[in-house]
Symmetry: C2
Subunit: 308 residues, 2 copies
């Protein structure tokens, strides 16, 4: 039997790392030879979760074809988010909760995507379908994923199924959902020791909207003012990204995980699109977006409507 | 709630028709408003199965966007095998057992593909996962699908899971697997009264392989010579399809369901790809492919390797 590598997307977040570990656990119990790996550095939030549950981080890899011909993708499917040499191996399985795009196989495979808030919610179901018990550690990693992807159930991407799974898993992992959840999310908000360049690229994606090329980065925080105290430095880094990559607009979402609002900091020619999209007035390049926490569901669509 | 239409591929076979009906039954029992439809005429085998279990055929449709915005695909995902206006509706779910290609969505969806021999095998599992009882009729339709796609378990696409499901479903449907299976398969081999155009389009699929556009049709028979007695007529019809649609290669597989070999009849510019792919010499545009019964597992991959 070929050993299969299991991994999530580049710029890994908690769901991508934990789902790789968890699915490897399930597959091993079903008799397969698999190993979870990662495509990038752990963020502070994910490190907190792994430490809490005494779980080792997966091994870092830059390429996979040098060690196996078969891989399993979790939490992504789009080629540009995957390992660089993805085209040189066979994707045997995908477990995901995103749209399907830039993905193609030569042969039939196991593909399981569900429109839920988190990959771990699907994995929890798969343990049940296969009649395999979930250990305390695996429960802890899965509930961490759900808390992370849903910002403790506040994101509009979160479904009833995610919440139910999180409650069930929290009991198995013997944690208090709110207490552990807030501690874990806070661990991801430590910006000391991070350069402005790092802050605007840790979780950043580019989007084509009509003629405009828009970059949207997101930083979670429990203290928006702490982030804003570095406003000039951040604006400088954003302007440099614009100069280097020709973006028409750079939006940095500073998301307060406690009150679930975001502050948008904007640089670029198309700043007024933010004012139109959210019906706000930018002051000093910034505006508060009430109840906005999800880039995918709450920021991209209205901006796209104005620019697209 | 929007009514969702459920359908399989064009040139429908037994699995495509029955899986649409069966998944509609499951979704309805789960409280959804759905209707199974079909994109083409029933073949003799499928008619036999529906008649045997007193099941009405799904309604025929040419387009779907005129009546709904949401659809569910079974037994296929590639755009060119689907309804002509597939790009105008949202695909909410896919239940399939093929490779993924030419498929892309804007939003997350439920996508369930497994590398088994038949869509119905997956559906049988989904009844269990949802705690819904399988009726005698639905069991009959599912076991018919498995018999059809596996050529009574002789195809290499058939897995242990398919066989187990078929045995379980045969008991529920109160049929003798071998007796019913052979009768059903034979019902699909009657070519009298069928034009050459019908024979090459009853079970035909188009594939993009590299730069080449390849059409592969399959006809089951208990008497290969009976089919080959109409060789010139068939070649004429294949050439016309090539002229009309720009295919680079048309392969007609004439599959003997008793001895499990196929004879390939080929027309088009890329005929030599067949010789390379199967290490055979075409004589008079035809060659015997020993032990080949599966288009998906035994014909598409080697052809794709040569052309792709």
């Amino acid at each position: 039997m070929t050993k299969q590598l299991i991994f999530g997307h580049k710029s890994p977040d908690t769901d991508t790392i934990c789902s790789a570990i968890v699915y490897a656990d399930l597959k091993k119990q079903l008799g397969y030879e698999v190993e979870p790996v990662r495509l990038g550095e752990l963020n502070g939030e994910t490190s907190y979760a792994l430490d809490y549950f005494n779980q080792e981080a997966p091994r870092f890899v830059e390429t996979v074809a040098n060690e196996t011909g078969e891989v399993i993708l979790v939490d992504h499917n789009e080629r540009q988010q995957s390992v660089d040499d993805i085209d040189e191996v066979e994707v045997k399985e995908v477990i995901d909760h995103h749209r399907i795009a830039n993905f193609e196989t030569k042969s039939p495979l196991y593909y399981r995507a569900e429109p839920v808030g988190c990959t771990a919610t699907i994995l929890n179901k798969m343990y049940k379908e296969n009649g395999v018990e979930v250990s305390e550690t695996m429960a802890g990693l899965m509930v961490s994923s759900i808390i992370s992807d849903s910002l403790l159930f506040k994101s509009p991407t979160c479904t009833a199924e995610d919440e139910k799974a999180a409650e069930e898993l929290a009991a198995k992992a013997r944690i208090d959902l709110n207490e552990y959840g807030l501690d874990m999310l806070k661990a991801g908000t430590d910006i000391s020791g991070k350069s402005a360049e790092e802050l605007i690229s840790l979780d950043a994606k580019a989007f084509d909207m009509g003629e405009a090329n828009v970059r949207i980065a997101q930083v979670n925080t429990v203290d928006t003012n702490e982030v804003l105290s570095r406003k000039e430095e951040l604006e400088g880094a954003m302007q440099k990204e614009i100069d280097d990559n020709g973006y028409d607009l750079f939006v940095l979402l500073i998301t307060d995980i406690l009150d679930s609002d975001s502050t948008a900091l904007t640089v670029g020619d198309k700043q007024e699109a933010v004012e139109k999209a959210f019906d706000v007035k930018l002051e000093d390049n910034k505006a508060v977006l009430k109840d906005v926490v999800s880039r995918k569901k709450q920021v991209v669509p209205p901006l796209n409507k104005v620019l697209g």
